[in-house]
């Protein structure tokens, strides 16, 4: 039940594809490749040849799996190096950036006043904002999605509103947040809340509507109470859809927080990136880009591995 693209009524909700499951190297294959100490009879030789062929195929696969991404990264470094040597040489090359990163990550948790703190603190405060905004969105969005999926009246009531508000850039909500909360931090959390609530509402609602009629017939034949239906049938059936929504929401939240922090300032990886631009420290900007990518990837992996545990199909 890997719901990758789901729609409520409007456009598709993009879902990044799940990376292929890592094919573990089977230990018995590796062992079979070792030459047997017994005297080689004809069938023995044949078996050994087969084992060797298997081992070769295995090696080729492993090589391809590691070599291809490695080549990709090497290519990126090469292009980067070349670009850094052209034009007015404003872009620092990989070596410079690496040295700068080593220096930066040597002390990630220093504090020298409110606007000068280690990159570790900045990442953590961004994650905290995302966690808060996203957590509140989950608290509101998932139950709301359940109700929209379960009660058609509510769906017809809210569907036009959701369709209207969903395409709005989350940053458009930032001034409203600033106006209401009169502080940058809650406004940023509010923006995260708004942007991460839609995927959760929509996917949960779609999930509820996709619950096979068979399961609901079981519930009807047994005359189960609405609460039992919720706990024993709807929730487990909707869980994979819900987790897809959660994954999309976290992805969006992480995209948005960087932009929001650039506008609100204070502390956070987005603010830090903007601050380094004001300092004209391009090496640090490049580091920030890599860090944002890595954290986003880590969040995605975390949620995919959670989602996999609840896949029953």
């Amino acid at each position: 039940m890997n719901a990758s693209t789901l729609t409520l009524s409007g456009g598709p909700v993009p879902a990044s594809p799940t990376p292929p499951a890592a094919a573990a190297t089977h230990p018995s294959v590796a062992r079979a490749a070792n030459p047997a100490p017994v005297a080689a009879t004809a069938p023995d030789v044949k078996q050994k040849e087969q084992a060797a062929a298997l081992a070769r195929a295995q090696r080729r696969r492993t090589l391809a799996r590691w070599l291809a991404p490695l080549l990709g990264f090497l290519g990126l470094l090469l292009v980067w190096q070349l670009v850094s040597h052209t034009g007015d040489k404003q872009l620092p090359g990989p070596v410079v950036v690496w040295a700068s990163a080593v220096e930066l990550f040597a002390d990630p948790f220093y504090v020298k006043g409110p606007n000068d703190q280690g990159i570790g603190w900045n990442i953590l405060s961004s994650l905290q904002r995302v966690g808060l905004g996203f957590g509140l969105a989950a608290l509101v969005g998932i139950p709301l999605g359940f109700m929209i999926g379960r009660f058609n009246f509510l769906n017809q009531m809210l569907d036009p509103i959701i369709s209207l508000l969903r395409p709005v850039s989350p940053l458009a909500w930032l001034p409203i947040g600033l106006m209401v909360f009169k502080a940058a931090n809650p406004a940023a959390i509010w923006t995260i809340f708004i942007c991460s609530i839609w995927p959760m509402v929509i996917n949960t609602a779609v999930g509820v509507r996709q619950v096979p009629q068979d399961y609901l017939n079981v519930a009807r034949v047994l005359n189960l109470s609405e609460w039992t239906v919720m706990r024993k049938i709807l929730f487990p059936a909707v869980l994979p859809y819900m987790l897809t929504g959660v994954r999309l929401a976290v992805g969006t939240a992480w995209l948005v927080i960087v932009a929001a922090e650039m506008l609100t300032g204070g502390q956070g990886i987005g603010f830090w990136l903007w601050d380094e631009w004001n300092n004209l420290n391009v090496a640090h900007i490049l580091i920030a880009i890599f860090v944002i990518g890595a954290v986003g990837l880590a969040l995605e992996w975390l949620l995919i591995s959670i989602a996999r545990r609840f896949d029953y199909s």
Binding site: D214, Y215, N217, V218, R220, V221, L222, N223, L224, T228, K232, I233, P236, A237, Y312, S313
Partner: protein, 273 residues
């Protein structure tokens, strides 16, 4: 006391579904009385409304006309007194076999019995279908035939007044189907259940049932004929299929049903298109 031969009464029942081109009449003027402990087979060509009739008895749909009575009480909506075995087993994939059965047991007996007793009931039901060993497996880990047996165990564990089966073995291979039919005979003999089973398999209908209710072709289907199988009821005497293969009564019943399906109601293929 209610008349024992009128355990379930279906009185002038009609069912129509609203469509864009006006009402679609699926069933009309259905009359049927079922006795306690009787095994009824519903047979007919595809689209004749036999599943619709079963769903009406299950209470999953309400008739647009007429009335259904179980023990002189009108049937309003589904309830655990009429357990349904669905064609596609309908087990919940996130629960083990035992938990699936327990869900039904808890609903029916949860208010009056302790946890241990409930579990006992569920285990007994799994034992009845020969699946004690698979109690901790999830539906995804067992074969289609085993899933269907868990579905039957879930239905039986509720100790329903009626067992309703909607083509329960339709999706299984012939050998598994035969095995489960034998098992069902044994279960009916052990429990004395009143069964209504939808099937499209003539042999299954004759082998298992006491009466075969044959429906005319839809739309606006109704009961065409009711054939009484002149064999001792399954709950009293097991019907070994090898003996049945040259039993005159069995063969005559088989012929009667085939005659109805392929002679009297033969034009279905043209109309279905």
């Amino acid at each position: 006391m209610s008349n024992p031969s009128r355990f379930l009464r279906i009185e002038d029942v009609g069912m129509s579904f609203p469509t864009k081109k006006g009402d679609f009449v699926a069933l009309r003027n259905v009359h049927l009385d079922v006795a306690r402990g009787e095994f009824i087979a519903l047979i007919g060509h595809s689209g004749c409304g036999k599943s619709t009739l079963l769903n009406l008895v299950a209470g999953l749909t309400t008739p647009t006309s007429g009335v259904l009575l179980l023990e002189d009480r009108e049937l309003r909506g589904p309830g655990p007194d009429r357990a349904v075995v669905f064609q596609n087993h309908s087990l919940l994939p996130w629960m083990t076999c035992l938990e699936n059965v327990l869900l039904a047991v808890e609903r029916v007996f949860g208010a009056t019995e302790k946890k241990a007793q409930l579990k006992e009931r569920a285990l007994a039901a799994l034992n009845l279908v020969g699946l004690s060993h698979a109690k901790d497996k999830r539906p995804g880990e067992i074969s289609g035939g085993m899933k269907q047996r868990v579905g039957i165990a879930r239905a039986l564990a509720m100790e329903p007044k009626m067992l309703l089966m909607d083509e329960p073995f339709g999706a299984l291979d012939a050998l598994t189907r035969a095995k489960l039919q034998d098992e069902l005979m044994r279960i009916v003999a052990a429990t004395g259940s009143t069964v209504m089973m939808v099937t499209h398999d003539v042999d299954e209908a004759v082998l298992l049932s006491d009466r075969i209710v044959m429906l005319t072709n839809g739309p606006a289907a109704t009961i065409g004929e009711v054939h009484k199988v002149p064999l001792p009821p399954v709950r009293e005497a097991f019907r070994p299929r090898l003996e049945m293969a040259h039993n005159a009564d069995y063969l005559a019943s088989r012929e009667a049903v085939l005659e109805f399906l392929y002679h009297k109601q033969a034009h279905v293929e043209k109309e279905a298109a």
